[in-house]
């Protein structure tokens, strides 16, 4: 069997394993929620909507499943996958186990953009919170990129640290701007709305968000997966990567821009959900090892399932109320990660 055929065969095998898990998670997301809806009801709605079966279903139930929960589960999956893959890429590029998608200042910038629109009144009500968040994220990322470049960031370990430091500086600056806007002009009710968004809020997700999030997550994944060999090489530093024929600068620019863009879009749709981009890559590494060819799909699947699960928990943990999903990701993720850490250490002995 040729190498290419082996890869394709591996990919097919992986897809056969991943797809049922993903579909099961999405169906669970559609079934479980604030109001209990029977599994056969979900199947009836799917039959009605996808195959025009015309089965008798209460219109409210059908609306809840089709218009609220399914898009929510799909976007949670896309978002979880995108953040996890972004985390994998940045941890390899920056050779830093603590790197995550927000290290590029995206979360801080998104927050600034969001409060500029909702609290400072930028746009006079014509701009949406998501629009503000997206532009704020890109602005912050641009600032961090320029600063990192000016500081001579590159691929060596020392130069990779410059990107991390530039990210910290950018994040601090935009966090300060956010605090300034809130302190200057927020009423507490506005602050609460923003707080909820900052901690991750999936409640407003609808089908148009699916058409944005899912293709983007797939495109981001394809780009990063295409660079799997380069990422393996980057793990050993840029000199090693260059000696292996990797176009270092181009790969860095493409990968950082791809992760920044996908993260910015995801943050603008669902808010700053922490933990996924930092921890899921490590969890996936424990499962399949450090090779990026396997790590990338494993991280995407783990991230997707994890975030769909976290969203389900956020909707049922307090009856009649929805928790910000970021709270749940940390509450579930931290202990799970602790278990993985301890097991990984034991396995290494």
């Amino acid at each position: 069997m040729s190498a290419a055929a082996a890869i394709t065969w591996q990919g097919l095998k992986g897809a056969c394993l991943a797809l049922p898990v993903l579909i099961a998670a999405v169906l669970a997301g559609a079934m479980i929620g604030e109001t209990p809806l029977a599994p056969d009801l979900v199947l009836s709605v799917l039959a009605n909507k996808l195959a025009g079966a015309g089965l008798p279903v209460d219109p409210v139930d059908q609306g809840i499943i089709w218009s609220y929960r399914l898009p929510r589960a799909l976007v949670a999956g896309a978002c979880g996958a995108a953040l996890a893959v972004a985390g994998v890429v940045l941890q390899a590029l920056l050779r830093n186990a603590l790197a995550d998608p927000y290290i590029l200042g995206i979360s801080a910038g998104a927050s600034t953009g969001a409060v500029a629109v909702t609290i400072a009144g930028l746009g006079g009500g014509a701009l949406s919170l998501s629009f503000g968040a997206f532009n704020g994220a890109l602005l912050a990322f641009g600032f961090v990129a320029i600063l990192a470049r000016a500081a001579g960031a590159g691929g060596s370990r020392a130069a990779a640290a410059q990107i991390v430091l530039a990210g910290i500086a950018g994040s601090q600056l935009f966090n300060a701007l956010t605090a300034f806007i809130i302190a200057k002009s927020a009423n507490a009710d506005q602050a609460r709305g923003i707080m909820f968004w900052l901690m991750g809020n999936m409640s407003g997700v609808r089908w148009p968000d699916v058409w944005l999030a899912v293709p983007l997550a797939l495109a981001g994944w394809v780009i990063c997966r295409f660079h799997a060999r380069a990422l393996d090489a980057f793990t050993f530093g840029t000199d090693s990567a260059a000696s292996l024929g990797i176009p270092v600068r181009r790969a860095q620019v493409i990968l950082i821009c791809a992760t920044a863009l996908t993260t910015a879009v995801m943050v603008s749709i669902v808010g700053s959900i922490g933990f996924v981009g930092l921890v899921i890559p490590h969890a996936a590494r424990f499962l399949v090892g450090p090779g990026h060819r396997k790590l990338m799909p494993a991280a995407a699947l783990t991230g997707a399932v994890f975030l769909i699960g976290a969203d389900i928990v956020s909707r049922i943990i307090i009856p009649g109320q929805v928790l910000p999903i970021g709270v749940v990701t940390a509450l579930i993720g931290a202990p799970s990660f602790a278990v993985i850490l301890v097991r990984g250490r034991r396995a290494a002995r």
Partner: protein
């Protein structure tokens, strides 16, 4: 949402009785856990919170207000000219020094989180140390725990009693107890008439939802919980609140609301344009177009009432809001 106040307060303390009874000075009032003594009637005030400002205007004491702050909406139209003559220290939270600089005889606050134990403007003691007495509207602390953060947590349902008590006590502090008694009598009569009107209708198993706003148009809305001013209104008018939590303004998912299927939906109208759903027209558009919300009986039968946002709070605007809601219920009842 944060910043919605409100509370209970049926029981008048002895001090409050003496305050309401006449202008006896020195006057001691038990106010939000503190005993405040006034040796002489107050001659001036700075207000921190629109509700406190409008109470003083309604009492005819607008001429004694040196500065205002924390505005949510335009002032009531009948006080527009009066308000134009009063300095606005800040649209939102004023600084401690800007309040002190006016040398007020009283700082009257709507919310404890502005002037209170964790006050963002100042602790009450900071004003007291400078010889400036403070008064916090009892609607924000009677039967309410403000140590829980956010909007605080109501331990008992709001009633207009705490609102009336605030009016009477503020009037007494200025040595104008008669004005307070007169205003409260008028409000009580209007409230009783509104309740009587609603009782005439007696809708069958009627329920309601109060929707204030939403951070984003499709996201979970801020709706009224059981114990706030809207909860009291619903109880008085014989409506069951479909939101069961005691939180002041919880966020609740549309799927839960749609399944509860309220008979009437009350939506807030406000001047603020910060959240997508601040505009009541956009709320209406959402209700009519959203695939789930549009299925609710209240939407299908066009039983949607638009209400002044400040009327959903523990303010004097709650009285006309109650009247409007009772009138709308009459119309709904007669069309059933």
């Amino acid at each position: 949402m944060f910043l919605r106040s409100g509370l209970i307060g049926l029981s008048f303390t002895l001090a409050a009785h003496s305050a309401a009874a006449g202008d006896t000075f020195p006057l001691t009032i038990e106010n939000c856990g503190q005993s405040v003594t006034f040796e002489v009637p107050a001659v001036s005030a700075v207000t921190v919170g629109q509700a406190a400002t409008e109470v003083l205007f309604a009492l005819g004491l607008g001429g004694k207000v040196l500065g205002t702050s924390v505005w949510f909406n335009d002032v009531l139209p009948e006080y527009a000219d009066l308000n134009a003559k009063v300095e606005r220290l800040a649209d939102n939270d004023p600084s401690f020094e800007s309040v002190v600089a006016k040398r007020p005889g009283l700082v009257a606050a709507q919310y404890e989180w502005h002037v209170g134990p964790e006050g963002v403007v100042a602790k009450r003691e900071q004003f007291h140390d400078l010889g400036i007495p403070t008064y916090v509207m009892p609607a924000d602390c009677a039967g309410k725990d403000n140590t829980t953060g956010g909007d605080g947590t109501r331990t008992r349902m709001f009633t207009t009693g705490s609102l009336y008590r605030g009016i009477e006590e503020l009037a007494a502090i200025f040595g104008e107890a008669d004005k307070g008694a007169e205003l409260v009598a008028d409000y009580k009569a209007r409230e009783a008439a509104a309740v009587a009107k609603a009782q005439e209708v007696a809708l069958e198993d009627a329920s309601a939802l109060f929707w204030f706003s939403s951070p984003e148009m499709e996201s979970d809305p801020f709706v009224a919980g059981q114990k706030g001013a809207p909860g009291y209104m619903m109880q008085q008018l014989g409506l069951r609140n479909v939101i069961e939590t005691d939180e002041e303004w919880p966020t609740v998912g549309w799927e839960t609301i749609a399944k509860a299927n309220p008979t009437v939906i009350v939506i807030a109208r406000m001047d603020r344009r910060r959240f997508a759903a601040d505009d009541y027209e956009k709320k209406l558009e959402f209700l009519r177009q959203d695939p789930v919300a549009s299925q609710m009986d209240a939407v299908r039968n066009n039983r949607i009432v638009v209400m002044d946002a400040q009327g959903m709070d523990a303010t004097i605007r709650a009285i006309p809001a109650l009247e409007d809601l009772a009138a709308e219920l009459s119309v709904i009842g007669s069309s059933q």
